[in-house]
């Protein structure tokens, strides 16, 4: 029997490394707007970024499916790499993915295209993992920054993530209004990570 096995290695110490990254992701979600450091790099097939790959290998499995944006799903090597290392089913429907990997945020679907969870099971929503080109801490008076309030934030948190769709701030505000339903977003770039969970209030105009 011939299997087409993928190019690109996974974690060398799957248990230890995924546990460490899980901790980083949990902290990022618990402290919205803070910038976390992802401790290691993978070498996945392009255009899948090392950050997206590491999060997928940590979080996705046979029961946590993946949706890939068109730029990622167009590359067969990406799908093979993710299937091999996670065992997760890949889905074409953004509303079916437990995790969505977004390599091209400029053209990403609106947040309400993803699974919003149910009133009884809000955990059944999609977690978006977005590869940005810029991710940096900022002060709340920075006009480009996302300024957040809510659980896990002492007063206000602020950070810059780009590129993103022009109306992304408004989308996040509508997402917040759906609470307890709604999606959670992770932004990753160059070994850094930040989160805007659905519990965060987005301050400022559209």
């Amino acid at each position: 029997m011939t299997a087409t096995l993928p190019s690109g290695a996974g974690f060398t110490d799957a248990v230890g490394q995924t546990q460490a990254l899980f901790r980083v992701l949990m902290d990022a979600m618990a402290r919205p707007g803070s910038i976390g450091r992802m401790p290691f790099d993978l070498a996945p097939p392009a255009p899948l970024t090392p950050e997206l790959a590491a999060i997928a290998l940590t979080m996705a499995d046979q029961e946590a499916s993946l949706w890939l944006d068109p730029g990622l799903s167009a590359v067969d090597a990406v799908a093979r790499y993710l299937r091999f290392h996670t065992g997760a089913p890949l889905t074409d429907d953004p509303a079916q993915g437990a995790f969505a990997l977004i390599g091209d945020p400029r053209h990403m679907p609106p947040l309400d295209a993803f699974s919003q969870g149910l009133e009884d099971y809000p955990d059944r929503s999609t977690t978006l993992v977005i590869a940005v080109e810029e991710l940096a801490a900022a002060t709340p008076d920075n006009a480009r920054a996302f300024v957040l309030e809510g659980p896990g934030i002492a007063e206000r948190a602020a950070f810059i993530a780009s590129p993103l769709p022009d109306d992304f701030r408004a989308q996040l505000q509508r997402n917040r209004a759906r609470f307890p339903r709604g999606v959670d977003c992770l932004f990753a770039c160059a070994g850094r990570i930040a989160a805007i969970p659905r519990s965060s209030t987005i301050i400022g105009g559209v």
Partner: protein, 136 residues
């Protein structure tokens, strides 16, 4: 592949011994033990239901140009890795015949063991015979 699943770890070590030299194997995915939920069918032939899980070990390796993989019942990751190496060698057209020859011995032993079990089971088959026929 079914043969590698039924073989023991020492069987596979012996098989690889006869195939030396083998270029070093690189792990495509670190050998790992996990679970597969075993499904049965209602009434034996109806819709699926879950009977319970089984431990399964898997490995995927690269040997030279070829990659090989294995999934086996049990927790023996070393055995799964050996089987993945055997699978990778089997993918190589130049070595396939040698791999099959080496596995034939294992296959013959497993078949002989199964034949003994079948013969012992067959000896417990009931042969009914009629003692009395009360016609009149």
């Amino acid at each position: 592949m079914a043969l590698c699943a039924a073989a023991t770890r020492s069987d596979l070590q012996a098989v690889l011994g006869t195939l030396a030299p083998i270029s070093p194997a690189a792990d495509l995915r670190v050998p790992e033990t996990g679970l597969v939920m075993v499904q049965g069918r209602m009434g034996g032939d109806g819709a699926p239901f879950n009977v319970g899980e089984a431990t399964v070990s898997r490995a995927a390796v690269q040997v030279g140009e070829r990659s090989g993989f294995a999934y086996h019942l049990g927790r023996d990751q070393t055995k799964a890795r050996l089987a993945a190496i055997v699978d990778a060698l089997w993918q190589d057209d130049n070595r396939r015949a040698a791999v099959e020859t080496a596995l034939a011995e294992v296959e013959a032993r497993l078949e002989a063991e199964a034949a003994v079990r079948a013969a012992q089971t067959a000896a417990t088959r009931v042969n009914f015979f009629t003692m009395v026929r009360g016609d009149d």
